[in-house]
């Protein structure tokens, strides 16, 4: 039986259908999860998709964190369930304290949509095991509040523990400290990043197929487990 990967829809989620499509293209079954419904439907992994949950008023992800579904996502993630937060999903993960740091307004103070080159700093997570350490990938980036910030100690700790998962190459698009595009928790099951792997899964609509690696990684881990 194929892996079942849940995709949460909050009011204001935008890339939920795209994430579900990416899950299907990678060969798993996409299960939609509703923000107001605490039930995780027994999924094997969860994707928190991009968008503007609750309009992203106040702070991105700040209100979504309190959605009924999130308490179970938080508990399951602490128990080892693979969780991927993309863009707004990354912001929700930080607001929920599943990942350290926070995302603030881009230093260029504009929304930025472009194809972004990243370096995969570690293949040692549930969502990057199909990549090689140091591999360069090209996936779309699109956000207004993607500047990753944390205090020096946290940043040093992330670096020291090999928990910086992706770094922007060439031109940092949003002022993220130390060019950080994505990070993981200490177990490597929870990964958050600003760029959008789900938009790089078909040659017709994306700049590459590099996004597929995220989903194939988690699927092969689930099969092995």
């Amino acid at each position: 039986m194929s892996a079942r990967i849940g995709v949460v829809t909050f009011p204001g989620s935008l890339d939920d259908q795209d994430a579900a499509r990416a899950v299907r293209i990678a060969g798993a079954q996409a299960v939609s999860l509703w923000h107001g419904d605490a039930d995780l439907k027994g999924v094997d992994a969860v994707v928190l998709p991009g968008g503007f949950s609750y309009g992203d008023y106040l702070r991105c992800g700040a209100i979504a964190r309190f959605a009924p579904v999130m308490q179970n996502v938080i508990d399951a993630a602490r128990g080892g369930l693979p969780v991927l937060g993309i863009c707004n999903g990354f912001q929700v993960l930080c607001e929920s304290h599943l990942l350290p740091g926070a995302l603030i307004r881009n230093d260029v103070r504009k929304f930025v949509c472009r194809d972004q080159l990243l370096r995969v700093e570690t293949a040692n997570t549930a969502w990057t095991s199909d990549f090689a350490d140091g591999q360069e990938i090209l996936i779309p980036l699109k956000n207004g509040e993607g500047g990753f910030v944390a205090d020096q100690r946290t940043l040093d700790q992330l670096e020291g523990e090999g928990r910086v998962v992706f770094r922007y190459l060439h031109d940092n698009p949003n002022g993220s400290y130390r060019d950080i595009a994505g990070i993981t928790n200490d177990r490597g099951n929870v990964v958050g990043l600003m760029p959008h792997p789900e938009h790089a899964v078909e040659t017709l609509t994306g700049p590459s197929l590099d996004g597929l690696g995220f989903f194939s990684s988690v699927i092969s881990q689930l099969v092995d487990a």
């Binding site: 009011p11 204001g12 935008l14 890339d15 259908q17 795209d18 499509r21 991009g50 968008g51 503007f52 609750y54 309009g55 992203d56 008023y57 504009k110 929304f111 930025v112 949509c113 472009r114 779309p140 699109k142 207004g144 959008h196 789900e198 938009h199 078909e202 017709l204 609509t205 994306g206």
Partner: protein, 757 residues
């Protein structure tokens, strides 16, 4: 503070009361006409309704007589594809596979001048609701924009906010932005144009109309609460009925600016999709200009029914609003639906799921009248058609401007032309770096083009293409409108705008099907402007007939001027095309070394209204010659050659001429090419003339015979003008110059950041 509300009874008993109709923009004969319709004086609420519904913006009173042509000169193709024609919120076009597409352009020019961010944002919000109203799921937006000179302080005040507003709203709705325009001309300095296009997809059996039918059905208002937004002059009425001693609160504090809430609109879109899916509405209408007045009177009028409304049930954001103001409010993110009693609970459940407030504010009946009450008092009792559809119609005087001949006689022949290789090279670079032709990525990088995962082509391609079903069915859209051509000859200008949008759609491999338009002009009370308008509509209607693409709807924006100076006559034309398999779309970037570059069409010494002349501060002469038969033929070739797999790339030739088109292809692909200009043609003309009816095609050597056969069969001149060659690292125009891609890129990409960062 007590408030007396002017009731129908009051109107009957006090016929002589003075009413401030002039302050509301009504002429005295219009006011008399209202009295005739009602057989008494209107109540202040009725006066408010008539005044906005009979405004130029809502009633099309100056343009109607000209717009009629779109319904009269209808191409035969229309009956096969038009499921809903003009007159509804947006036209609906059949694209096969039981799917239909609805699209429309609307203007938000004046609000965007006052408050750029919110004006532009709510422009997107409004056009998206028009598409939603047809039962469709909106799938993409576009934004044709016009500004004053790129270096003018006024442009710096409005452009960044307008772009951020379009992005801020559209991105938050999750609608990919797949194209648009950014054009600069001094005439737009005090009056930027913000036109917004939305396109949506709807299964045939889910198309909705805005008619209130079925006596006993509920009228439900849902979405955002009503505030005092955009009620402008109507506050006069409200203040007259106030005993407004203290000056606190009340009409003087009404906001002139509407603030958009894209999140509210996003949940409204999702809620509506579920309502349509579960077939819970009988009729539906968005609330835009003229708010509740418009929605209730139009729905009742369209349904040939009557309607009763309890206005005091409208959820308010500001409890001090008077009934006249509630009727007029243009608060955003609201919709109105007619719902059968048996389906009301299910309707409300969907709204609750999406946290959308919904309230029954009225009931459909068979009285033939629209009646509105306010806390038990009857304040409106009118025949809905007189409000919504039987407004005044004007035959505004128009005449060919006395300056038109002199303008046309002033051809750009006296300007000195480049001739040496270096001069030609510099000319190309200056065009590539000019604000009208430079890279627009400073703008478009602020727009999400990826969301929904179906964007196959977006800017800077010739048209945007989105996939609309799992089998790869797609639609293509392009908008165009060259105001300079319009000024030189508005009849030809409209046809050139249509021809260019039509050609752009075909260039990407899609078959052009249908047209929408937004006609941006100065004051209709100026006979010069009215002549430009009349010529534009006549030109457009004639050209649509000849190209076989029906007009499905559109919008007119008058009074676009700075002081006495009208903007260039600017018809913005949108063409919709269909492509059966998006995988065969033709991109603009060439790829394989050795592929041949072909130019179809003919190049003449045509520089009137050109970008080259514009850069020298010159506008005069005649625009390029229009040949619609030729346009039709090259479009056929573009579509057929794509279908037969003969093309690797294509790009249309328009502003800036062939040189700019080739440079754009090289920039998009990152690979160079060697170009050989035809003998016997001045290289300057060959490179920079703006002759219409031309497309550059890139064809693998192996397909050249089939391709040239296709051109010969249609009698379209085709010339092999070059070959893709990545070794060159640039564009070489043989015998004249070579310019590296890096240099072109730096020139093209530096302009916007230098101006606006």
């Amino acid at each position: 503070m007590t408030r007396h509300v002017d009731t129908v009874k009051d109107a009957e008993t006090t016929p002589e009361t003075d009413q401030p109709y002039a302050d509301l923009g009504l002429k005295s004969d219009e006011y008399q006409l209202i009295r005739e319709h009602l057989d008494r004086r209107p109540t202040s609420s009725e006066l408010a309704m008539y005044s906005v519904m009979w405004s130029e913006h809502c009633s099309y009173k100056s343009s109607k007589v000209h717009l009629r042509q779109f319904g009269e000169k209808v191409p035969a193709e229309a009956k096969d594809i038009l499921l809903v024609g003009m007159g509804e919120n947006a036209g609906v076009v059949d694209v096969g596979n039981d799917l239909a597409v609805t699209f429309k352009i609307e203007s938000h020019n004046h609000p965007s001048y006052v408050e750029p961010y919110q004006g532009a944002a709510t422009g997107i919000g409004g056009i998206v609701r028009d598409i939603l109203t047809m039962g469709a799921r909106p799938v993409a937006v576009m934004d044709p924009l016009r500004f004053g000179p790129a270096d003018a302080p006024e442009t710096h005040r409005v452009l960044p906010g307008i772009v951020a507003g379009i992005g801020g709203y559209g991105n938050c709705l999750g609608l990919p932005n797949i194209g648009g325009e950014v054009v600069f001309d001094p005439t737009y300095i005090g009056n930027p144009l913000v036109n917004a296009l939305c396109v949506g997809v709807v299964p045939h059996d889910r198309i909705q109309l805005s008619a209130a039918t079925g006596p006993g059905n509920h009228v439900v208002l849902f979405g955002a609460k009503t505030g005092g937004d955009g009620i402008g002059g109507v506050s006069v009425l409200a203040s007259e009925s106030f005993d407004d001693g203290d000056g606190s609160g009340g009409p003087n504090k009404r906001p002139s600016v509407q603030v958009g809430d894209p999140f509210a609109e996003k949940v409204l879109i999702e809620a509506c999709q579920e309502l349509f899916e579960q077939q819970l509405v009988v009729g539906i209408q968005d609330l835009g200009g003229a708010g509740i007045s418009c929605a209730t009177s139009e729905m009742a009028s369209n349904g040939d029914s009557g309607m009763h409304v309890w206005l005091d049930r409208v959820p308010l954001r500001d409890s001090t609003l008077a009934p006249e103001e509630i009727l007029m409010s243009e608060s955003q993110e609201r919709m109105c639906a007619v719902v059968a009693p048996a389906k009301l609970d299910a309707f409300m459940a969907v709204c609750r799921k999406w946290d959308v407030e919904a309230v029954v504010i009225g009931e459909v009946n068979d009285s033939g009248r629209l009646t509105i009450e306010w806390h038990g008092d009857q304040i409106v009792d009118v025949p809905p058609k007189t409000v919504a559809h039987d407004g005044p119609v004007y035959e505004r005087p128009y005449a060919r401007p006395i300056w038109q001949d002199a303008l046309q006689a002033d051809a750009p022949t006296k300007l000195s032309r480049p001739s040496s290789g270096d001069e030609l090279r510099e000319t190309l670079l200056s065009l590539l770096g000019s604000p009208n032709l430079a890279s627009k990525s400073w703008v478009t990088d602020q727009y999400d083009r990826y969301v929904l995962g179906n964007t196959v082509l977006a800017q800077p391609e010739d048209s945007g293409i989105v996939r609309i079903n799992e089998d790869g069915l797609g639609i293509a859209i392009s908008t165009d409108g060259n105001g300079r051509y319009g000024k030189l000859d508005p009849y030809a200008g409209a046809q050139l705008a249509l021809a260019e949008a039509y050609r752009n759609v075909a260039t990407t491999g899609a078959k052009p099907l249908a047209v929408t338009n937004c006609l941006n002009f100065g004051s209709p009370e100026d006979s010069d402007v009215m002549w430009q308008f009349a010529e534009t509509t006549r030109g457009l209607a004639d050209a649509c007939l000849q190209l076989g693409v029906p007009v499905t709807g559109g919008n007119v924006s008058f009074y676009n001027q700075t002081g006495e100076t009208a903007i260039l006559p600017t018809p913005v034309i949108g063409v919709l095309g269909v492509i059966d398999d998006v995988a065969r779309r033709t991109p603009m970037a060439w790829d394989a070394d050795g592929d041949s570059i072909w130019l179809l069409g003919e190049t003449a010494d045509e520089f009137g209204g050109s970008e080259w002349a514009h850069l020298r501060g010159h506008l005069g002469g005649l625009p390029p010659k229009v040949d619609l038969d030729r346009e039709r033929l090259i479009a056929e070739i573009a579509v057929a050659a794509s279908r037969d797999g003969l093309l690797t790339a294509a790009h249309d030739v328009s502003v800036g001429g062939l040189g700019v088109s080739l440079a754009e292809m090289a920039l998009r692909s990152g690979k160079g090419a060697r170009i050989f200009l035809p003998d016997g043609l001045d290289p300057f003309v060959a490179l920079f003339a703006e002759s219409a009816g031309r497309i550059v095609f890139v064809v693998p050597r192996s397909e050249e015979f089939r391709f040239t056969d296709m051109c010969t069969a249609r009698g379209v001149p085709a010339a092999r003008i070059g070959v893709v060659d990545s070794e060159l690292g640039g564009l070489e125009v043989q015998g004249h110059f070579i310019v590296p891609i890096d240099e072109m890129r730096t020139t093209s990409e530096a302009t916007f950041p230098a101006l606006f960062d």
